[in-house]
Amino acid sequence: MNPRIEVVALDCLMLRLFDDIAEANMPWMLAASERLRGVFGAQLIDLVPSYTTLMVHYDLTLLNPNQARELIAEALIDLSPNAQAGGQCHVLPVWYDLSVGPELRVLAERSGLAVEEVIRRHSAREYQVFALGFAPGFAFMGLVEEMLAAPRLNTPRKKVAAGSVGIAERQTAAYPVVSPGGWNLIGRTPAKLFDRHRDGYSLMQPGDTVRFEVVSHAEFIHLGGDDTPLEALA
């Protein structure tokens, strides 16, 4: 770890902790987040974690840039990785099917694996939530195994159904709400990923782990899933 503090805006500083995406970053990221929230207290407006960085948006009526830098430096003193790293473990039921996950076939062709094997491998791993972004509750997870990695679609879809599970490069994610999107879709989960009435709102938080569980069409529907085929949304 080689922490650096960078200017990003009038009232925002970036704390850069790492240069590469790695699962081993997370205990440090969580520890730094906790410390920053502690030292800034009510002077913090927002803290935006990503894979290797923490963006600190502070209240400019209470702090000037130098004071904010000093607080960040203070938060880093004797920082040690958060022992409780790992957070919650979620199991997301997924109905893997070509009607809701048309790129299952693309991934199978790219990798030379059978569709069933693509499904088995995607659901075999435990993934880490690296960051939330793109949309409320949209969790960037990884890493999927190299064989399943695939670039984003050349032309993003205008509408991706809520619950759609996809792969982009070595990351995987599920869309919380209907939105445009360029990920390779492989299935759909009935899980409610973002809920304004839930404590904490988002099902997943950075540092949590996630496993995808294969469910049948009947189970998917029973769990409240919507099986409207993707083409019907276009």
Partner: protein, 307 residues
Amino acid sequence: MSRLTIEASTPLCLLQDAGRFGVRHLGVTQGGAADWRSMSWANWLLGNGLDLPVIEITLGGFAVLAEEDCLLALAGADLGAQIDGQPLAPWRSFTLHKGQTLKFTQPLLGARAYLAAPGGFDAPKVLGSSATVVREELGGLDGMGLPLAKGAMLSYHGETLLVRDMPLAHRPDFRLNAPLDLVLGAQIGQFSGQSLFDVFNSAWTLDSRADRMGIRLLGKPLQYQGQPMISEGIPLGAVQVPPDGQPIVLLNDRQTIGGYPRLGALTPLALARLAQCLPGTRVRLRPVVQDVAHCEHIKYLQRFRNS
């Protein structure tokens, strides 16, 4: 309680406040008035807290009918507002009498007008704010992120404690052609020397591809020479440069993280001015360091206290 019925609206007429804070780590965008300065003055004119819910009217096409006598304030763009056909200039409070209609016709100067009411317009808070973000289905009159629609009722409960006149000297001049201040960011040194010259020494034209997420600037393509970036938090006003070299200024409804290199971020005052520019406007950028920009901003905020 005082009420107004919306008689005309567009998808660009939205209930807004200062924005949604404390939830950006969940991927929830900031939202809020695109021109925070005009929103603040609209509230100030009625003695409100500066961040209370207002109506953001972009380009016009909005009309309300007063169901009771309503004391309101208007700030920001001159969108050709009329009360029963009589012109109404911005930067003032006024009474819309029962049965009168306030209508916004077309942009005469600026792009966004802000209408305020005593105590703010009534709206539920969703994740701490009433700001409407259509894409996220958050905020607005019903909390579900819908734009203001014809037939809906606006209401407010506040008492007017203090109606104020705005000092003439404090009225923002939307014609002002001064460059927009840009706080230099960490990747600035990784653009080519020519690009660094071009950024600050040529004019940029506002593209028609502009919304509350961002405004694209057209001009000499800029060249980033650094490594590809890993997605990270994006501040309000960030000026990002995608591979086509045409910068995009990111506004209130931007995504929370992104991976394009950035020149830096416009100051809040520069953003307030940019939010009032129509497509085709030519702007220039001027570099400013964070400390200087901070002091200028604090000085500006004192106007709301000392006026």
